[in-house]
Amino acid sequence: MKYMSEYRDPELAKKILEEIKRTVSRPWSIMEVCGGQTHSLVKNGIIEMLPDKVTMIHGPGCPVCVTPLNLIDKAIYLALEKGVILCSFGDMLRVPGSQKNLLEAKAEGGDVRILYSPLEAVKIAEDNPDKEVVFFAVGFETTAPANALSVIHAYRRGVNNYSILASHVLVPPAMKAVIDDEESKIDGFLAAGHVCTIMGNSEYYPISAAYKVPIVVTGFEPLDVLQGILMVIRQLEQSKSEVENQYARIVREEGNPEAQKVINEVFEIRNQMWRGIGEIPDSGYGVREKYAQFDATLKYNVTIEEAPENPLCISGQIMKGIKKPFECTQFGKTCKPTNPLGAPMVSSEGACAAYYHFSGLVEA
């Protein structure tokens, strides 16, 4: 595929790696914010190819991983007890709630459907007027416009049996929260390319300035990630802390203004619970009052007791880069992709699962 395959060239990858090796003079810890970048690192075996001095830290950028436990319980409740058609992205289905996951709810007879797009969910609602349809709208800034769009579509077309169970998380506040942690040892960031596609780069200048960290907006193909790493290291070696854009073929300085408009139309910023991290101020989107009727949380007013996270799971520390998955006592023992104790073991973009699957550390 054009604009993908060329960024997978092994010769060029090797050359960038050599340049990284040549450039790096002392140990650096770089956080790739986005789970997609984590995935690319491990799937392509990049981590082992990097010089020892470069340590990659896997950030909180997997929306599936940070979606609050309680919200998953709610989605399951709606599917099993309220009989709604619960639509979701595929990777949300294996994330453990307090009792079970959505895949299990589906297997128990819940009408849980995997969709490619939230716009499909509105169509399903139109096709099933005597059923309630709920879309489990998780995502970062990248996905928020599509989820918002589904609400606008439903609103325009009077589809009143549609609503979204929304859990949107915002990247910049999370980056701040992560770097604010005193145990954090992050020297630089690969910022999430697709989030910036929507929001642009402006949010990163204050962070870069305040914390004195280089931030490189980076894509997802091997060459992208390698180039991003190289760019961060170059800054670090030169004691710079600037915002650079590795992913300029996709990311504009100002982001996508239309998408921002759509987000603003439907959502407003609010505090948000991050699974494994806790509440972060102004780090999420909630549905605005104008669209309250499409907010499943209000529509069903389900109160489900907050279940405690598994106390052995150190996912918060993992996502802050304080610990590596294999430093968790449960990793690969009681906690495996077939029996995840915490969210990062679930999605293949989750740091723990990525390590489990692709790195040479464990036996299946």
């Binding site: 997978r8 595929g90 459907r113 998780v138 091997p222």
Partner: protein
Amino acid sequence: MSEKNKIRMQLQCPMPKLEFDVITLGHGSGGVLTNKLLDSGVFDLLSNEILDERHDGAFIELNGKTAFSTDSFLVSPIFFPGGNIGELAINGTINDLAMCGATPKYLSLSFIIEEGLPVKEFWDILVAIKFACEKAGVQVVTGDTKVVEKGKGDKIFINTSGVGPIHPRANISAKNIAIGDKIIISGNIASHGMAIMSVREGLEFDSEIESDTTNLNHSIIKLIEEFGESIHLLTDPTRGGVATVLKEIAQSSEIGIDLSQRDFPIDEQVASACELLGLDPLYVANEGLFIAFVSASKADALLAVLQQDENGKNARIIGRVVEEHPKQVIMESNIGGKRVISMLPGEQLPRIC
């Protein structure tokens, strides 16, 4: 099966006029309706001397080493690009027999039908079964039809079991795998699973991707005739895909496997569909594909022969058996990194967000 083939088959096999439009519970009760279904002409498609005896079992002749295999087939939707559950069920068991080094000969065919299946769909499935059997040179010699209530099945499940004599030159066993063996894959990976995905509600996309379901027996026998004992192991990477099957072998045979991602043949559309849905083609199901462990000295020759076969045009050597890292499968990525290949923890889910 291509559209053209499908049309040809339907023309050749017009459905008999029937008193009923859908399969009902009564058709599985063992009573009048069961007999009516049997006598309706629907099953005449499969007619042969042995089956027509309609006894409690079939009378067949077998001499010597024989392979015996079974599988139940559930697939949703039951009609998909490139085929339907009928030929899948036939080819599936044929291929399992072929993987034993056998010539598949006789099949059993057992249906569990969910009440309400349109007879027309059942007919189309039987037509596909008929042609799949003819192509592979096997006969359905015994069968069974059960019907379950709605909500207690999923349109149709098919079990096929099969037997066939093992080729005298075949010596297929995981025990024969040796360090240095080359691992050959017979063609493009992930086609079947992505063909199914392309028509899954909510995920569908337009493509020319078709299931690779086909019978591999003729191709296998040809190889065995020429390379005999040099073929150490044969297996078809169906559910769980290539990765799972190779990891299983590495584990149970305590060998190490090295793979090269670069060498995996994959159709561009299939690869693109995997990118779109965030799936790893290594874990996607195949149906008309096989993997052979071949002694290093014969691997190139075998590959050359296989590439002449209609089922081996895209065959490639994808890896080899190594002494290092026993039980581990390690793949060199396109850019030269290494990753460990583990088994699929469950069904692979589209990764979108």
